[in-house]
């Protein structure tokens, strides 16, 4: 990153917001990922050592949202919809078109939602904000999430687990477990083998 917070390789003429912390060894493909970013948190997004976020990734982070991407984690193309907290652990593999959402952004009550949508139409830009009651998402270390999957508000995914492609995860996933389907169900358990943490 240059001193004026541009990415030298970027195709998009944007900058990395001030309250985003990207480790000097991490790779963020484009500042376009921050088009919908509006967090006012001290650190709205943190990307850890040796991690990478590719072009389809969007940090759609609301005013109070905080996103943490751990170390050695690959985010290929996730829509990260965050109004509270989304944490992705170390050694994560997040595939393309994945949705991680800790918030529905609007009220579940239709009458309230009408008022919220009327307020949105008066805003510029048209930021979607309402009574969302967000619930944080925690994704443990060494979790692999397959393409087109959705992880819904309040879900915790345990260490070492795999979410099969196109799954929709409504409930917590225990550690070292493979889940798949819509709604996601447990397929099998994985060997919780401990490997040496041999980081460069």
């Amino acid at each position: 990153m240059t001193p004026d917070r541009k990415l030298p390789w970027d195709w998009y003429p944007g900058t990395i917001p001030e309250n985003v912390s990207i480790d000097e060894t991490a790779w963020v493909e484009t500042s376009f990922s921050f088009l919908f970013y509006r967090s006012l948190a001290a650190t709205g997004v943190r990307v850890g050592r040796g991690s990478s976020t590719y072009i389809g990734t969007m940090f759609d982070v609301g005013r109070e949202g905080k996103v943490t991407v751990g170390d050695y984690t690959l985010v290929n193309g996730a829509r990260i919809i965050c109004d509270a907290e989304i944490e992705i652990g170390d050694y994560g593999l997040i595939s393309w078109n994945v949705v991680l959402m800790d918030s529905y952004r609007l009220s579940s009550d239709a009458a309230t939602r009408r008022r919220e949508l009327e307020a949105v139409a008066r805003r510029s830009p048209r930021i979607l904000e309402g009574d969302s009651s967000p619930r944080p998402i925690h994704i443990g270390r060494n979790v692999w999430i397959g393409f087109d999957s959705c992880v819904l508000p309040g879900v915790t995914i345990g260490e070492g687990s795999i979410i099969g492609a196109r799954s929709v995860v409504f409930e917590d996933v225990p550690p070292f477990t493979v889940v798949a389907g819509n709604p996601a169900r447990v397929i099998k358990k994985l060997d919780p083998e401990v490997i040496k943490d041999d980081r460069p």
């Binding site: 088009l35 919908f36 829509r79 919809i81 078109n97 949705v99 959402m101 529905y104 609007l106 579940s108 239709a110 939602r113 009408r114 949508l117 009327e118 949105v120 139409a121 830009p125 048209r126 930021i127 979607l128 087109d148 999957s149 959705c150 819904l152 196109r166 929709v168 409504f170 409930e171 389907g181 819509n182 709604p183």
Partner: protein
């Protein structure tokens, strides 16, 4: 959202204070009907694909908010007021190809660059109707002939092949109505 609003075809009517953004909005817009697309007032159409075929017609009410929705229309999509559609959700009113194998061969040939104007066989299409106050989550899919009743809540990633009653919450593939046994 900071992208500039884009040019729209003449047979598109939009109400006051409606914003359409994204450079691919009309890339697959081929409808010759007038109007082919009618959008009410105070809507936000951010990155929406209006893939409307030759005879297709889409109507959208007021105060709708769609994010990167894909609207595939051969015949008719009717969308009410205060409808929210999440990122990458798809709505299609057609099968786009025949089901019978022999018919599909005829269709594959007609779609080929060698077809030189050969007609395609008939394809099943049926209007999709989405009533007022419906919420459709990201990555959801709504297929042909479905009517979604007012205030229904379509969970993220749901694949909806049947009508949804007003006020229901559905999830899953195929979509089922949420009850005590379902998620939340």
């Amino acid at each position: 959202m900071s992208l500039d609003a884009i040019k729209r075809p003449p047979n598109v009517q939009i109400g006051s204070n409606t914003v359409i953004t994204g450079d691919h909005a009309f890339r697959r817009f081929r409808s010759r009907v007038d109007p082919a697309l009618t959008i009410g007032a105070d809507c936000t159409m951010d990155g929406v694909h209006f893939a409307i075929e030759g005879n297709g017609r889409v109507t959208i009410g007021d105060f709708c908010y769609f994010t990167n929705a894909v609207l595939l229309c051969e015949l008719e999509l009717q969308i009410g007021n205060y409808v929210v559609i999440g990122w990458n959700a798809t709505i299609a009113d057609s099968d786009f190809h025949p089901l019978a194998p022999a018919e599909r061969i005829i269709d594959a040939i007609a779609c080929s660059p060698l077809a030189s104007g050969r007609a395609r066989p008939p394809i099943a299409s049926k209007p999709v109707i989405i009533e007022d106050d419906v919420w459709i989550g990201p990555n959801a899919t709504i297929l042909k002939g479905v009517r979604i009743g007012s205030g229904a809540f379509i969970e993220a990633g749901a694949l909806v092949t049947r009508n949804v009653p007003a006020g229901a919450r559905v999830f899953g593939n195929p979509a089922q109505i949420s009850d005590a046994a379902g998620p939340r």
